[in-house]
Amino acid sequence: MRELIERLTQRYQLGAPTFQREGLTFVDLTANDQLRSILLELRDKEGFTHLTLLTAVDWLEEGRFQLTYLLNNRAANQTLGVRVFLDRDVAVGETIHDIWPTAETYQRELREMFGIDFPGSPRVNDEFILEGWTDLPPYRRDFDTLAYSQQTFRDRPGRATTDPRAHMKHKLYPEG
């Protein structure tokens, strides 16, 4: 895996790789315009034929989204996560539905839950899970799900919450 990363670093702008464990590596791609070519090279030349998942992380404090393309090389039993970063205010990603058709579904989900647009991806603006959603995309971190639920659904009085730590402390050591 190390030699693959070294080979790729010669032609692509990659950050420092993270060797998570045997067979799982993550690497940052700092140039977004190289995404398509690196994914195509990995798929066609390096044997990473399977897109395991495409997911996003909302780094609210840094003002950016992280997209992780998790690719799997079945023959070599290797998984490589390519991470790219998008500006949180613009949030437009490049569609890869023509490289892996499954990406279409992931991109629809990201469009609905994070508000990341993928122009050109089929049916990307269709509803995916939510129906009639008019608020912020719910997986964004500035969407407060608790505040939203309290403003939308009525509480039934009498519900009590116990802090597990205080409860167990009281139960195990009643004298204190």
């Binding site: 129906e131 912020l136 969407f143 407060d144 403003q151 939308t152």
Partner: protein, 230 residues
């Protein structure tokens, strides 16, 4: 609440547009006549539900209630995780059929709706449709703590907290999840309740129809069905 953003305000201004196929449109017939079509009105009956009055004679009403209590036909509509607890009741081990309880595939053949766990807003719409299509007298049982106060989904953006805001609930079975034995006990309680003449859910729904509709429409933004689904 510690983790809550006090400044967060829900967006209440944006209205969700009506789906294109449900908007009114006009058709020109071959003879030149222009016909206006409103899909939500023309294809459905607009009559609201009516209160089913009790019999004037007490003994007749008691007889009706006795008969109703022995014919609980459950709509096979599973929401959330509780649907899995109903399956053992159909097996020889628990055998709910010996109590006159059985499951039916369509709302037209059922009179008991078991909301078996958490109900997302999307499922709520289907549950309302199914409930309104059931013939009266009909009953609703809320299963599990999610239907009572939200349960573990108390802070979810897409899961309702109180089922009785949206459907008239006759009986709750508490637990997370209740075992099949608890369900059987709940059905027995429901039978007693019906025999006492307190299974008046359908009538409560008809009496407070506007209140229920207001609550339902407050959470279901894309209301793409008629007011009352016959």
């Amino acid at each position: 609440m510690k983790d809550m953003d006090k400044s967060f305000k829900k967006n209440t201004e944006t209205e969700f547009p009506l789906r294109e196929e449900l908007r009114p449109y006009t058709v020109t017939a071959p003879d030149g006549q222009v016909i206006e079509v409103d899909p939500l009105k023309d294809y459905f009956c607009e009559e609201p539900p009516k209160v089913h009055r009790k019999s004037y004679v007490r003994i007749v009403e008691d007889f009706y209630n006795w008969a109703r209590a022995h014919s609980l036909w459950i709509l096979g509509f599973g929401t959330g995780c509780g649907a899995i607890e109903m399956r053992p009741l159909m097996t020889p081990r628990f055998d709910a059929y010996r109590y006159g309880i059985q499951w039916r595939p369509t709302p037209r053949q059922a009179n008991l709706m078991v909301i078996s766990g958490y109900l997302s807003v999307k499922t709520l719409k289907r549950a309302i449709r199914a409930y309104e299509q059931m013939p009266s007298p009909k009953y609703v049982v809320g299963l599990g703590s999610c239907t009572i106060n939200g349960g573990m989904y108390w802070d979810s953006y897409n899961t309702i907290k109180r089922l009785d805001d949206y459907l008239p609930v006759d009986l709750y079975i508490a637990g997370c999840m209740p075992r099949p034995e608890a369900l059987l006990a709940g059905f027995m309680d429901l039978k007693k309740l019906i025999r006492r003449g307190e299974g008046e859910g359908a009538n409560r729904y008809a009496e407070n129809f506007d209140w229920y509709k207001e609550n339902q429409k407050a959470v279901i933004k894309d209301w793409d069905m008629p007011e009352y689904n016959w």
